[in-house]
Amino acid sequence: MSLAINHLLGLQNVSKNDIQLILDTAVTFREVLDRPIKKVPTLKGTTVVNLFYENSTRTRLSFELAEKRLSADTLNFSTSTSSTKKGETFKDTVRNIEAMKIDMIIVRHKSAGVPLYLTKISNASIINAGDGQHEHPTQALLDMYSIREKLGKLKGLKICIVGDIRHSRVALSNIYGLKTMGAEVSVCAPPTMIPKNLETFGVKVYTDIHKATRENDVLNVLRIQLERNAGSSIPSLREYHNYFGITSEVIEKNNKDILILHPGPINRGVEMSSEVADGPYQIILDQVTNGVAIRMAVLYLLGTKN
């Protein structure tokens, strides 16, 4: 079995078979992570570049660890400068790195479309680690993996993404991936956080967190970016917490079978109370562990393809 895709740019056009294969492959790697020696020689001799044009701690660590667990050689390039500040252009940077004979590029960038652009200027296999407000496919895959691990399936489940959908790269990947796998996807947020015409993606929109909690099996709770939202899309973080925050009260009043996910990092007391973040309904740290397995699966499947 091998993937139909050559790059992982997003989940929009990834088939059910490919997603299934990635999730199933990740199960094997997840087992590796519980062994005393957590390293396999699968990608020995493969060079992977982590090209991070935007601050990221956990995604970069997770990819780096996945690469090391597979015995790949890794290079890290992190910068927060962009080509608007004069200096080397993005294209020149990529061509220089490419000239060092590398095989795969993991890219994170504040501009949507950069991973696709990379496929045009590079021969490496490209994995999107988050582009602008567009996609973050490995996050969605690890979310799906974690839900499947906990609830045994994806098909037919009702999953609601809560929070700033408009500025999220996680939401769109989850919507595409989950729908492909046969889940019902909805979102819950104030209308200021919902992007234009989202309904046309086949997504139900809630503005009542109680109702969303009642009617769904899973809540995937997104981080509220403090600097971006307060004062513009929401009056205050306090008001957001009081009306959209996930608290024990919201869960216990509406749905004690709910499963809570969060891609991290958590703003405790904003999108989620500490009680919930540390409580029995959430699988937040499982997601982190599974993330390494998912990234190992993606790296392995793409890295051994050619």
């Binding site: 929009q12 962009s82 080509s83 608007t84 252009t89 993005f90 294209k91 960038h109 504040k110 501009s111 949507a112 479309g113 950069v114 696709l116 652009y117 582009d131 602008g132 407000q133 567009h134 996609e135 790269r169 769109l172 992007p195 234009k196 015409n197 989202l198 046309t200 993606f201």
Partner: protein
């Protein structure tokens, strides 16, 4: 020097001329229309233009020549060469240069750089000093230096109060305030807001940002009785607002770019920065409304918003790439292909929008087909099928989404200021 344009179809919507004639031009002056003697024929260079149209020189009222400031992207000379190659004998250049065209000195400098060229270059003055929207630029001085209209293009005039002042002050000259319509507080996206922007995850710019400024300017122009011109109109609602204002008798005109009647935001799926412009490409519904506006006269002109950018600037990541595309060398072909060949406009209507109306709006004389007049004309082959090749552009830049596109209709020659451009060569007449 004497030349004869033989069996050419003279088409002048202003003079209501549409007939095949021979045209004798001597030293850049129209000497004789029809009934040319055998003597003249034997002493002139004769161009057989049967089946081709001769129209009053095309006028692009919205170009960016980048000089002074970004001579690496375009200069007055290369921009003029691009204009002539595209069939234009005159352009009006926007003031967002560096420094801006907010003083007589800068306007004079541009006029000086344009001297002796076939193409006439008319500066558009900035409405406000440094285009900052704080206080009026020296409008009277700029008019004396040759400015034919005023705009803060790139941004809308910042405040309603300044729009009012500019409209009132410009009444002295019957010149238009030309507005880039975009509400400042809603501005800033990288593409049109809609289903596609949600899909692509790009920061989006809503049509309402344009519509609001159009509405603001209509109301102020109506109140003070000024002359307002809407630049690069792109939304359905704005077309409706202009149409309604015209019915009420507001002194308002509008222009549209070829890309806004040809392309939609679906193109953005490639994340190709050559589809990034402001206003952004809209939806098919907007394109349909624009074509309707062109047909019923709501939209008076077609103008390219020719916006050259250096390769390294345009090749940036999408959200960082500058807005705008080249237009001068593809505009006529796109207009004929998309509007005339698809029977939305007659050729006469197109020439009104590409030659007559821009001059009327800017208070300039429309070139006449009359013996004794200066020859200022464009010769068009409406049937010529050609492929756009950006590497053959006369512009210094290459940022076009239309490379390799097959177009019907092209200017085969232009004549103005005693010069003729034909077969890629400038000749003195």
């Amino acid at each position: 020097m004497k030349i004869i344009l033989k069996e050419i179809t003279l088409l002048h919507p202003g003079q209501k001329i549409n007939e095949q004639k021979d045209l004798l031009i001597e030293n850049g002056i129209i000497k004789k229309i029809g009934n040319i003697s055998q003597n003249d024929f034997s002493s002139s260079e004769v161009f057989d233009f049967s089946g081709k149209y001769c129209v009053p020189g095309l006028f692009d009222m919205h170009v960016h020549l980048r000089e002074p400031g970004r001579e690496d992207a375009e200069t007055v000379l290369t921009g003029s060469n691009a204009a002539a190659a595209g069939g234009f004998t005159a352009v009006a250049c926007m003031p967002n240069t560096n420094p801006a065209i907010d003083s007589a000195e800068v306007a004079n400098f541009i006029k000086h750089r344009a001297e002796k060229h076939l193409v006439d270059v008319y500066p558009i003055g900035a409405v406000s000093k440094e285009r900052k929207g704080e206080s009026l630029a020296p409008i009277a001085e700029l008019v004396d230096a040759g400015a034919v209209g005023f705009s803060d293009d790139g941004v809308a005039v910042k405040t309603s109060a300044l729009v009012r002042s500019a409209l009132e002050y410009l009444k002295m000259y019957n010149l238009p305030l030309m507005e880039h319509c975009e509400d400042e507080s809603l501005a800033g996206g990288a593409m049109n807001e809609g289903t596609i922007s949600t899909e692509l995850g790009l920061p989006a710019l809503a049509t309402v940002a344009e519509d609001l400024t159009v509405a603001r300017d209509i109301l102020i122009a109506e109140y003070v009785g000024g002359k307002i011109h809407i630049q690069h109109i792109s939304s359905k609602k704005s077309v409706e607002l202009v149409r309604e204002a015209k019915t009420r008798g507001v002194n308002i005109t509008a222009e549209v770019t070829p890309h806004h009647f040809t392309l939609t935001d679906e193109e953005l799926r490639t994340y190709d920065t050559n589809y990034k412009m402001n206003p952004p490409l809209r939806t098919q519904e907007d394109v349909d409304a624009i074509i309707e506006g062109l047909k019923d006269g709501t939209i008076d002109c077609i103008a390219s918003d020719h916006a050259p950018h250096a390769i390294e600037d345009k090749e940036a990541e999408f959200i960082d790439a500058p807005n705008g595309i080249l237009g001068l060398e593809t505009q006529l072909g796109l207009a004929i292909s998309e509007l005339v060949k698809k029977k939305h406009l007659t050729l006469e209507q197109l020439i009104e929008k590409l030659s007559i109306n821009p001059r009327k709006i800017l208070n300039l004389q429309v070139p006449l087909f009359k013996e004794g007049e200066k020859a200022n004309l464009t010769i068009i082959d409406t049937e010529l099928i050609w492929t756009v090749d950006k590497n053959k552009f006369k512009s210094k830049s290459r940022n076009t989404p239309f490379d390799k596109r097959l177009l019907t209709g092209k200017a085969v020659a232009v004549i103005n200021n005693g010069k003729m451009l034909i077969d890629d060569e400038y000749r003195n007449l």
